[in-house]
């Protein structure tokens, strides 16, 4: 039976594990609210994690790493945005391409620069972010703050209204004389920055450096959390925390038995977010619908 200490430590590590997922989830929220479906969150997280770890390792500064992570992810987001917004490319294909480019480029560059099979050297001291309060570091609090900021901008400001219009009814936005493309570019840029924050958290805080493939599906868990949250920032925080706790429990409870259920395979807990998302999407427990124009390239008339 898990005791109180174990529950507390699961809680703390669950909050820690949810930070990068929360960043990616909010990133997806910005992009999809503005009409750009993004299955490239995973790739941007990975690229940011690599750029962050590489820069931190070369300069010895975690902040240099953070800026590199933000920059790399932003660059990929803008490339993806250019393909999807300017060129009217299929948004799913563009996201897929970003995932492949990031997976290949990070491992390749890692091997070429550091010669350790794609990983960066271990980071220590000032090259990492360390806990400042309650076992959580500054990046986790920044991620938390982004929930409030996202909610405020999207629902209380004129820019947020335009952004949501670009995702729900771009024709109306264009009729009001506002460029759909520019609005969507703005959202995609914020998406890139948020993924950058998440990737920095992965490599500079949760781990001490970069490992090939270290995003390990977190970008897709974020997508699942986004669907669960019905594209709402507050609910995104809740679903990411829930998935983070699930993740922490899966790590802690390997081989442990649940009362009445017997030993629960760790893979079952890992697959749970995906299974729950499918059940939700199928409408068996409530409904979750994406912004109306998400996935549809906008063409001027």
């Amino acid at each position: 039976m898990p005791d109180a200490d174990m529950l507390l430590s699961i809680l703390a590590s669950g909050v820690r594990l949810s930070a990068p997922v929360l960043c990616a989830c909010l990133a997806g929220l910005w992009s999809e609210r503005a009409g750009i479906v993004d299955i490239g969150l995973e790739g941007k997280l990975l690229a940011a994690a690599f750029a962050g770890a590489a820069a931190a390792s070369l300069t010895g500064s975690a902040y240099a790493g953070l800026f590199a992570a933000l920059g790399a992810s932003l660059a990929l987001a803008l490339l993806q945005g250019y393909a999807a917004i300017q060129r009217g490319g299929d948004q799913i294909v563009c996201g897929m391409a970003v995932n492949m480019i990031a997976a290949g480029a990070t491992a390749l560059a890692g091997a070429a620069i550091f010669g350790e099979g794609g990983r960066t050297p271990g980071l220590e001291g000032a090259a990492r972010f360390t806990p400042v309060f309650a076992g959580q570091d500054g990046l986790a609090f920044a991620a938390l703050a982004c929930v409030g900021v996202t909610s405020f901008i999207l629902f209380q400001t004129r820019w947020g209204l335009r952004l949501r219009a670009a995702g729900e009814n771009p024709q109306a936005l264009a009729a009001a004389g506002i460029s759909v493309s520019r609005t969507r570019y703005g959202a995609v840029a914020v998406c890139g920055l948020l993924c950058g924050l998440g990737g920095a958290d992965l490599a500079l805080s949760q781990a001490a450096g970069f490992l090939p493939g270290m995003s390990a599906g977190k970008g897709f868990i974020a997508l699942a959390a986004l669907i669960f949250a019905r594209w709402q920032p507050g609910a995104a925080l809740a679903s990411c925390l829930a998935f983070g706790l699930l993740d922490a429990a899966a790590i802690r409870m390997q081989g442990a038995a649940l009362p009445g259920l017997g030993p629960v395979p760790v893979q079952a807990i890992q697959a749970l977010p995906y299974i729950l998302t499918i059940i939700l999407l199928a409408g068996f427990i409530g409904r979750s619908a994406a912004p109306a124009a998400a996935g549809v390239p906008y063409k001027k008339e």
């Binding site: 294909v93 391409a97 390749l108 070429a112 697959a271 999407l281």
Partner: protein, 353 residues
């Protein structure tokens, strides 16, 4: 149209990705401080320049034909199946179950039984997302992504538990019985008294080519193929013509799952002879690149699969010779090709290129 004209039609679109690949590789290699010309020579010699290299290229090509056709048959009906990877894993589970628990089958029946079990696994894993899209309106892109992860978790559970080899620390199944081994090119070479190639190239290659021909007939000559194309081009037109979208979606995805199972058959009965984690190697996603560059035409897909087969095999040789340039370069190149073909190119998803 069949035969040479289709091949020539298909060759055009494959040349552009080839150019992208060669240019990207040259730049990457130069950036790594190596000689691009020498690297391209290694790539070409490693993939096409020897019997062994060519046989390995064709082994990868087999995987990629199946994966490309699987993506393409769903594309035709307007569905983006990102789940070929998971469907191949489910197929692999079916193949392993048949191989390990139906061991009493006489030799001649064993391989067809394995192929059927694999096809059933792949079809089932594709059918559920198809049903969810057709009947419950869940978006198939999201559900197939989720099904990939669920398949991975299921595979991990089975290999660490019920299907795991006793006494092995690796997540792998016991070795399959001898009757579950697909006849290899090397078996034929040995029988003829020639030197074997030491490669897993096997009977799945002709099977993949036959599947490509069958897909060509399906797309161009059958009512179902036409109905799929109508649905893919315009769902309202399909509904107006009395075509049931739900029926076509589910049929297309079942076919997609069956085609994807060929990847598992090639890897498991041709090379691994046991079920292992990650035997799909991301090849289900390569299928997306293949279907896009092959413009959804089976002839184009075969050529694109050959191109990617050569890139994967040549890339492995290059990585062996120049350790700085790892095989990850090919994944990067593949991403660039997908970006070019799918986002910067012409209409990517419509059935008619």
């Amino acid at each position: 149209m069949s035969g040479p004209p289709a091949v020539w039609q298909a060759a055009g679109p494959v040349l552009a990705p080839l150019a992208v690949a060669l240019a990207a590789i040259s730049i990457i290699v130069a950036a790594a401080g190596e000689n691009p010309a020498a690297a391209l020579r290694t790539l070409a010699a490693g993939s096409l320049g020897s019997r062994e290299g060519l046989a390995m290229t064709l082994f990868y090509t087999t995987d990629f034909i199946f994966a490309g056709l699987a993506v393409s048959v769903a594309f035709r009906a307007g569905l983006f199946n990102i789940g070929v990877e998971g469907q191949a894993m489910a197929a692999g589970i079916g193949i392993a179950l048949a191989a390990l628990y139906a061991g009493a089958l006489p030799g001649a029946l064993a391989l067809p039984a394995l192929a059927l079990a694999g096809a059933a696994g792949g079809a089932l894993w594709a059918l559920v997302p198809a049903w969810l899209q057709a009947r419950r309106g869940s978006h198939i892109v999201i559900t197939t992504i989720m099904f990939n992860f669920i398949a991975g978790a299921l595979l991990g559970f089975l290999l660490n538990g019920p299907l795991g080899a006793p006494g092995s620390m690796q997540p792998e199944s016991p070795a399959f019985p001898a009757a579950a081994a697909m006849p290899r090119l090397d078996d034929a070479l040995r029988a003829m008294g020639m030197t074997p190639t030491d490669t897993p190239l096997n009977l799945c290659l002709p099977l993949a080519l036959a599947a490509a021909f069958a897909a060509h007939v399906l797309f161009e000559r059958t009512r179902l193929g036409y109905e799929m194309a109508v649905l893919g081009a315009s769902p309202p037109a399909a509904a107006y013509a009395g075509i049931s979208p739900a029926r076509i979606m589910m049929l297309a995805m079942i076919l997609s799952g069956i085609l994807g199972s060929g990847l598992a058959l090639n890897e498991l009965t041709g090379a691994q002879n046991r079920l292992i984690l990650e035997f799909t190697g991301g090849y289900g996603f390569v299928g997306i690149a293949i279907a896009l560059t092959g413009r959804n035409r089976p002839a184009g897909i075969v050529l694109a699969a050959l191109l990617f087969g050569a890139l994967y095999q040549g890339g492995a040789e290059l990585a062996f010779e120049r350790p700085k340039i790892t095989r990850d370069m090919i994944v990067l190149v593949q991403g660039l090709i997908v970006l070019m073909a799918g986002c910067f190119g012409a209409r990517a998803r419509s059935g008619e290129a």
